[in-house]
Amino acid sequence: MKRLTRNFVAICSTLALTAGLAACSGGSDDSGGAGDTIVAETAFNLKTIDPHRQFEFTGSTIDNAVYQTALEFEDGDLTKPTDGLCSFEMSDDDKEMTLTLKDKDAKFSNGDPVTVDDIVFSFERLQGIKGNPSFFLDGVKVKKVDDETVKLISKDPNPALPYILPNASIGIVNSKVVKDNEGTTDENDGAEQFLNENSQGSGPYKVEKYDADSQVVLTANEHYSGPKPKFKRVVLRNVSAETQLTDIQSGQAQVAYDLNADQAKQIDESMGKISSLPSTRSLYIFNNTDEKLGGPAADPNFRKAVMAAIDYDKLVDLAGEGSQRMASLVPNEFVGAVSKDDAPERDLAKAKALLKKAGYDGEKIPFHYPSDQAVNGVDLAQLAETLQAQLKEADINLDLKPAPSSTQLDGFRSAKQPMGIGTWGADFPDPTNYNVFIPGGSVAERVNWGKDADPKLAELAAEASKAKDSDRDAAYKKLYKATTDTGVWIPLVQPVDTVAVGSSIQKFVSNADTSFDFAKAE
């Protein structure tokens, strides 16, 4: 969970915004001096930019610009996987995928051409080093057929594979150079440090300087086979959202990733544009199903009472324009998402009746959440305070238990927290990514919701996994609707992904796949 990536978002639009700069701005006195440099700002969530280990938001942002992938999404439309470095073909049983090297001009930043060997090595390294993203290719065998073809053979039907391969974690690296620098396809791999400082990708940029504390500088990859980017240099700085706001306003930065709704409102036409897209994140309340650990939360009636006591419209208001209600944990734009018209509604009378049934008498329930985290500008501490006040109106008493993310996560992982706020960012835009929430799934285990807890859900899950093509949507809808009805997970809101772009950028591409494409900005 908590995958903080943005690169997979299920929506469609590619916004090519042409800012009316010409019209409005004598104010292009953006003392910019920027020239061919883009300054982009975000609060870093960055452990590494070795693509095969990288599993954080900032790492994805960088690797997206540095590495190419076998497949891509067509114009950023997450429902349409398409050819990247390779073209692909899926067998009828969804078990065998054939990749054929398509882009024969593609070159790494040192001038080496991209070969099938590089692709095979990259896939195998991802699997073998057992890092966070290794699970992407779990149960997949990589087989080189010839110098143009690779086959990916899965044990079970794997219809999600085309949606997985465009992930920046499966970036293609220069196998020769990486091998020369202690890179292997097993756990002895020692190339992480090397890859942090010397990127080995074929994307539009390469890494000039990597400093995970303060900033990462990218420069254009002169061997890139696509159109040359206008901005030759990208400086990605680690600054807080407050500073991002003032930097966009003063023209010191051109891109800000983390503004919340209130901050975004303060950017007017003369300063820049706001690009808002639905995020792939889900915010939810978890309830421990173990009677001893969960207390009242283990009672379905209590959980449903909580669901009926929340004022969802206010949450959407807090999360800002463009954020949406959710009827399940699957983001609204994905296959298998339950329509938001079915989302729970506030009904205090119903909540109170349910509480009576549950025999709940106002006792305090510890409510855990990470205090240092904002998800797409939604401050979880504020969300918790809001929920507490709303539930109080139904006489439900939450005892707020903030903790730094790492401690809070430890507690959640050990399955001992009765209630709290959880977040999930899609790893890939397919409903199977949400199987972790059905009984026996890895997240479900954290609320002691074991495999045999709910035979009906198990049945629906089995049906969904067998469904093919156009039937999948309905099958998964049914599964996740039933999951929401248990009240174990209470979906709260799907936040909005906001990128602020300064007025000195006149044209840019922002889509569900890449919230800001450095190479295409002008």
Binding site: V39, K130, S134, D372, R413
Partner: protein
């Protein structure tokens, strides 16, 4: 003050109590080599002992933290695999008893290895090397401002003792030490940058300016060395507001301190004598009073430097100043243990060294100290 006396005080007041001041005989007594050497050796010994203590404290503190470092290092996905967890635990030596872990930690320290951040996987020493100069630069800026302003105000206050000027300055300096830094920083940033735009925004340089080639790590100095005047001006501009904010507290401190030092000196006979001899007031002030007051002031400056490092935690957060303070803050909020231990150790050592140096200066300048 407080810490100034930190180390020194401990030993000094162990000496038999009794009035010492005005003891002219003792003052003029020529320094003997032996007690001086002994004094230095003792101070070195105490400093080393303290540094060792600091390692114990940082180690124990971080072992109290209720978090699993392995999970933090591996990340959520990989931490779900018990085999990898066990492997990492072994690799980090976390399966060893605490005392063994401590000695491993100590021996790593002696090899200059402060560990690797859980959050960024960057070696802590390397990161500290990056952020430390930033804090030093800010600290020097603040010290310069506060020394100049503080000394002048203190002197003025003392010379105009009990006049309205004196009262005004004393009141202001009390208010100065009463304001929460992070609030002053926020307000100053809001007014001078956000509204008036008279200072540049957060950070050490405008974002598109490349930092000057690293020599000292102080951007202003490095820019001068490499002759990049534009970079120098820019760095200086960014330095002004945070230094002033940070200086506010030390100005208050120095004002009060220099005032009382000067008042002390004024009462000494030689100053009275000088005045009686008809020397012009200005000469008396600078030649006698100021020089005499310098010693205690050195203490405060030394102390203030240490205190600035910590005031920096909050100021740097507001000004996005990528220094030790911000690094410490990030480490503490994300419970990044190696970072917390590293910062604690470095700051502890800096404090101890500063005190050591202050002590030495004291010992050299003021014979009373070392005799005892």
């Amino acid at each position: 003050m407080a810490g100034a006396s930190t180390v020194p005080q401990g030993t000094r007041d162990a000496a038999p109590p009794g009035p010492v001041e005005n003891d002219a005989a003792q003052r003029i007594e020529p320094p003997k080599l032996h007690p001086l050497l002994r004094f230095i050796l003792i101070r070195i010994g105490i400093s080393i002992l303290l540094i060792w203590g600091v390692t114990v404290v940082t180690f124990l503190l971080t072992n109290l933290v209720p978090t699993d470092p392995v999970a933090a290092i591996l990340g959520d996905r990989a931490a779900a695999d018990p085999e990898i967890v066990a492997q990492t635990r072994e690799k980090l030596g976390l399966d060893q008893p605490l005392i063994v872990q401590y000695f491993t930690y100590l021996s790593n320290l002696l090899h200059g290895d402060l560990g690797v951040s859980n959050q960024t996987r960057t070696p802590v020493l390397e990161s500290i090397g990056q952020v430390f100069p930033a804090s030093i630069e800010l600290g020097i800026g603040a010290i310069l401002i506060s020394v100049v302003v503080g000394l002048l105000l203190g002197l003025l206050s003392a010379l105009r003792q009990n006049t309205i000027v004196d009262h005004a300055i004393r009141t202001l300096s009390l208010i100065g030490i009463s304001a929460p830094t992070f609030w002053i920083a926020t307000v100053a940033y809001f007014v001078f940058f956000f509204k008036l735009r008279v200072v540049p925004g957060a950070g050490r340089l405008d974002p598109w300016i490349t930092p000057p080639p690293k020599a000292t790590g102080l951007y202003t100095v490095d820019a001068l060395f490499s002759g990049q005047m534009a970079t120098f001006t820019n760095a200086l501009g960014h330095l002004v507001l945070p230094s002033c904010v940070l200086a506010l507290f030390t100005i208050g401190l120095l004002t009060r301190f220099s005032r009382s030092s000067v008042l002390d000196i004024i009462r000494f006979d030689y100053v009275t004598a000088a005045k009686a001899k008809g020397l012009p007031t200005r000469t008396v002030v600078f030649k006698y009073i100021f020089r005499g007051a310098l010693v205690p002031i050195i203490t405060v400056v030394g102390l203030a430097f240490g205190s600035l490092l910590s005031g920096a935690v909050l100021t740097e957060t507001v000004f996005a100043w990528n220094g030790l303070g911000q690094y410490a803050y990030r480490g503490a909020t994300t419970l990044d243990l190696p970072v917390i231990m590293g910062v604690g150790l470095v700051i502890g050592i800096v404090y101890i060294l500063v005190n050591f140096i202050v002590d030495l200066i004291y010992g050299f300048v003021d014979p009373r100290v070392r005799v005892r």
